[in-house]
Symmetry: C2
Subunit: 233 residues, 2 copies
DNA sequence: AACCCATTAGGTACGACGAATTCAAGAGAC
DNA sequence: GTCTCTTGAATTCGTCGTACCTAATGGGTT
């Protein structure tokens, strides 16, 4: 997915990145550039470029006379799409999924409220189209079709909010939704109540009812939280 | 601040990063690695490492026979702390500040609600201490002291939420708050109502009243939005 | 305890070659 | 004559290897 094999240093990252984010190297672990270069059978130049990228993600820190030390998790750029993908692909997947779902529950309602005020007619139409597509695929185990429209729906909401920070989470939300369908338990058809909520959100945005759009979207995200057993006692 | 001068490639980034994020090179502009190396008086190796970092931030894309092309803004990793700093330092500062404030308004209330349920006694105490510090510095143009406790307050809230994605925004919020005090108009003492709200949030968290903590924090962020004239007509 | 120095690993520079893509010139067909 | 397809040359990044510099570290000396 995304950008596979954009050079040798990319190949190295495809192995090193997941390994580090999976916690295979405890914080403080020391890696040596030349040693890594030998292990991956690449030149030092290539390995140095890979280390620079990991450094920009704050996964590691390079210091003279010491080597490349792995940084503690609290330093990582956890919003980096690449880091998110690596963590979603590894053993930290459940925890990452929970973090992202909580993030969704905070962002999406506000984004929907903004979208209700700022969405263009085209975006309103697109939203309705997505919601109808969800309805059409909500029965008969058409999970892929449903997922496609679900991802599109949330991406439109986030984009239509007019906030670039929200819009940039479209890909993340898409991966969360895809993960729920593909990896986790999703044997049955989607919850009819959730489908209805999406349709109602589309209506609220079209009607410029920000408060209603926000409240309905909050209900959707609450459902997502409940699916992962994230709730108050 | 942060990490100045971590090598020659860092120096290059300190110039190129702000230039690109400021829009000095329109999307699609092509830069040549060797040309850049000459301009910055560094070797090609160093320049290549710098380009790799910019590439990992999705600011540029490197292609053979073409060069290093600047990507459109919608591709940038706008959550990268480095990118945020560069944009806050440039001409895009007002727009960046608005985006981040809207982001705050979505995140912080939810974070406060979670903090009310998950904060440790130490974090509750720290929160109260911060709020009292804000009160103590709220009169007599003690802006620096007020800012210090304000930043600490919001950082504790975000950390105590137990969500790493929220916690990672602590630095961003701190920079927004600092920006408001230093660059923008903030001649007078802070709004007494805002100070009171912070104290009440600390109380609500201590009392484990999630709903109240969330609502009060929402009032704080609404105030921040109004300061930037972000509101519904 | 303070100081000095050898070791070590990253930091930088330079040069060479390989690989891929773009662009233009030329051959061919209609 | 114009258009298309092919071919090839130019260009720029990609990779490699070497050499040397720099600066932290750790141990040994005074």
């Amino acid at each position: 997915m995304s950008t596979p094999g954009r050079g040798l240093h990319g190949r190295v990252l495809d192995t090193l990145g997941p390994a580090i984010t999976a916690g295979e190297y405890p914080p403080g672990s020391v890696l040596l550039t030349d040693e890594l270069a030998q292990r991956f059978e690449v030149s030092r130049s290539v390995m140095r470029e890979a280390v620079r990228v990991l450094e920009s993600m704050h996964l590691v820190e390079s210091r003279r006379r010491v080597g490349v030390t792995v940084l503690p998790e609290c330093e990582w750029n956890v919003y980096d799409p690449q880091v998110i993908r690596w963590r979603l692909a590894g053993s930290e997947r459940p925890r990452q999924l929970r973090s992202l779902t909580v993030l969704r529950s905070a962002i999406e309602p506000v984004a929907a409220g903004l979208a209700a005020r700022l969405a263009t007619p085209e975006q309103c139409a697109e939203l309705t189209e997505c919601a109808l597509g969800m309805v059409a695929n909500s029965r008969g185990h058409q999970l892929e079709g449903y997922l496609f429209h679900d991802m599109a729906f949330h991406r439109v909401i986030l984009t239509a909010s007019g906030n670039e920070m929200f819009a940039r989470l479209g890909g993340v939300v898409a991966e969360v939704l895809a993960g729920r369908t593909h990896h986790d338990v999703m044997f049955e058809d989607p919850d009819p109540a959730a489908v209805t909520l999406h349709v109602q959100v589309a209506e609220a945005v079209r009607a410029r009812d920000a408060e209603r759009a926000e409240r309905l979207t909050r209900e959707i995200t609450v459902g997502a939280l409940q699916e992962l057993d994230i709730l108050a006692p």
